[in-house]
Amino acid sequence: MAMLIDNLARFLNAIAGFITPLALFNMAWSTLLGIIIGALPGLTATMGIALITTLTYKFPADLAILVLICVYVGAIYGGSRTAILLNIPGTPANAATTLDGFPLAMQGLAGRAMGIATSGSVLGSLIGMFFLATVAPILGNYALKFQSFEFFWLAIFGIVISGHLTAMEDPIKGWIAGFLGLLVAMVGQEGIHAYERFAYGTTELLGGFALIPAMVGAFGFAEVLSVMQNPPPEMANKPRDSVFPKPADVFRYWRTIIRSGLIGTFIGIIPGVGEDIGAWVSYAAARRKSKEREKFGKGSIEGLMAAEAGNNAVVPGAIIPALTLAIPGSAPAAVLLAAMFIHGLRPGPLIMVESPQFVYQVVAMVFFATLAILIYGVGLSRLLLKVLAIPRTRLMPVVFVLCAIGSYAITNRIFDIWVMIGFGIVGFTLRQMKYPMAPLVLGIILGDILDKNLRRGLVLTDGDLTPFFTRPICLVLWLITFSSIILSIDPLRHALQQTFRLVSSRIRRLFYRRRV
């Protein structure tokens, strides 16, 4: 109880700390920018955060993180506008929003649909925020018990689960993407002996691939390429009715909102599984539980609410493991984590010991960002329509200019521009071949954790592998990891089924004989 009051005081303290003209001004522009980035098809939350990181790296740490979180929350919300008006998700997170948002708009209810999206996003975000404030400290304290063995499995678990869930129809591609990311992280001096790996004598590669240029490439440049390849979207509807959220919609579907918030937060906590999956899972759950199942896909208010509450709840959820374990819960959170490193913050298990205040500052940032999307959601729809009308031929070159200069600006190296180009081309090609990007990014972040902890663990036990498999948390992690792999590779699954059948028939025969 004392801890609860203590934490509440920290939270209120953090809120008060942000009520300064400078902070409020930064919140205002960054959330608006986030909403615009989210609304523009082709500009995703991950790309937005990566680009804004390069623009804010001279800011003081707390202000920079505030801006990035506002962009994050804003972008996930902003994408709903495009989904409702154009039937194109503004960010991948809003794919489920199109299913019911666009039919509603076609029925002339675009304004109401936007109101539902606003209330769903705000409430989902608040539910996620509540869990960020309550779960993060607990997880942080719990994570203090984690040793190298647990961190090794967390890294593998993250890659495998993220690979599985982001490439549902072909998980092996997700895993390959994840392990490629890990391999990329191996380049440069390693963390134990500072031995150079895969640098081939070049000084540029000694430090490894810088995270931000790599992500700006994989999410920015690759996105520019695919936007220019695809035909431009057509504007469909203009809202005629009020965009003001209706309280009746909220009260009627409060169960759905809470369920979606919980699902979203949980999906957010799972490493590398992001907003898009959160939205799909809460949408599917809402449809399963709904009394008006037949309306889903034809303009269901409940479905739209579930999708939008689900994806926005992922945002705080994804920040939980990023803060307490330094393992990002989604691709945008991975960039956020990289930005925290750049600003000298040290997320990880020690955060609740070293700087518990920071955790509550982040909670307060999410709170303000949520407040800002509520205000913008009600107040601004004309401007967004104008922004959506900007032709891509004029937007994309400017975006690419920012990709190039942003990659360069952090360390003033031309080499980083080449890194951006390289990762852009590779990312584009991989995406064309249906390899998901989220596990790749997760791999780049987790490579260092995997590397240090496997070797540290091996040294600690002098080569004995048993602690890797017998410690309780390890046991859970590797069981889930392996069953995820075995159950989705057909030949392996068949082999397993056959062995199981063989063994069970033998046993049955044993009993049968005895009975005779």
Binding site: L55, Y57, K58, I172, W175, I176, F179, L180, L182, L183, M186, E190, I192, H193, Y195, R197, F198, F221, V224, L225, M228, Q229, N230, P231, P391, T393, R394, M396, P397, V398, F400, V401, L402, C403, A404, I405, Y408, A409, N412, I414, I417, W418, M420, I421, I425, L450, D451, L454, R455, R456, L458, V459, D462, G463, I489
Partner: protein, 141 residues
């Protein structure tokens, strides 16, 4: 430089362990992909002149190629070769103009598109240069 084994490091902390592990996993997954493709009868890449022409005749792929040439040419070669503001302005101008160019434009249309591309290029190049040079104090390439 003394080798790590002369430094008497713990043999289980050698830097190659994790890359080897990752390599093995990738090899395993790669093999599964190969076997799966062989079972499904594989996929013909169709590296022929005809195939390339068909690929390039799609407007989407033409746009893609033009985008790739412009962006890589700008970021990879023009930056550092020309002053930053000039390279950026030139890139944006070319990008906007080439993508908005249509066959059979009248002189007035030409003029209008040239001017609008020029304005966008000048404004964004100046804005980006000023913001990064004056506000963020970055030494531009």
């Amino acid at each position: 430089m003394p080798r790590l084994q002369h430094l008497k490091i713990h043999p289980l902390s050698v830097p190659g362990i994790v890359p080897a592990f990752i390599g093995m996993v990738l090899l395993l997954f790669g093999t599964i992909l190969v076997i799966r493709s062989i079972r499904r009868g594989g996929h013909r890449l169709g590296f022929s002149y005809e195939g390339f022409r068909r690929l390039l005749s799609k407007p989407g792929n033409q746009y893609l190629l033009l985008t790739a040439i412009l962006t890589i040419g700008y970021a990879g070669f023009l930056i550092g070769f020309l002053p930053y503001w000039l390279a950026t302005g030139l890139f944006i101008f070319l990008f906007v103009f080439l993508f908005e160019w249509e066959r059979g434009m009248s002189v007035a249309q030409w003029r209008r598109r040239l001017i609008s591309a020029g304005i966008i290029a000048a404004v964004s190049s100046a804005a980006v240069t000023l913001v990064f040079e004056r506000l963020f104090l970055v030494t531009l390439p």
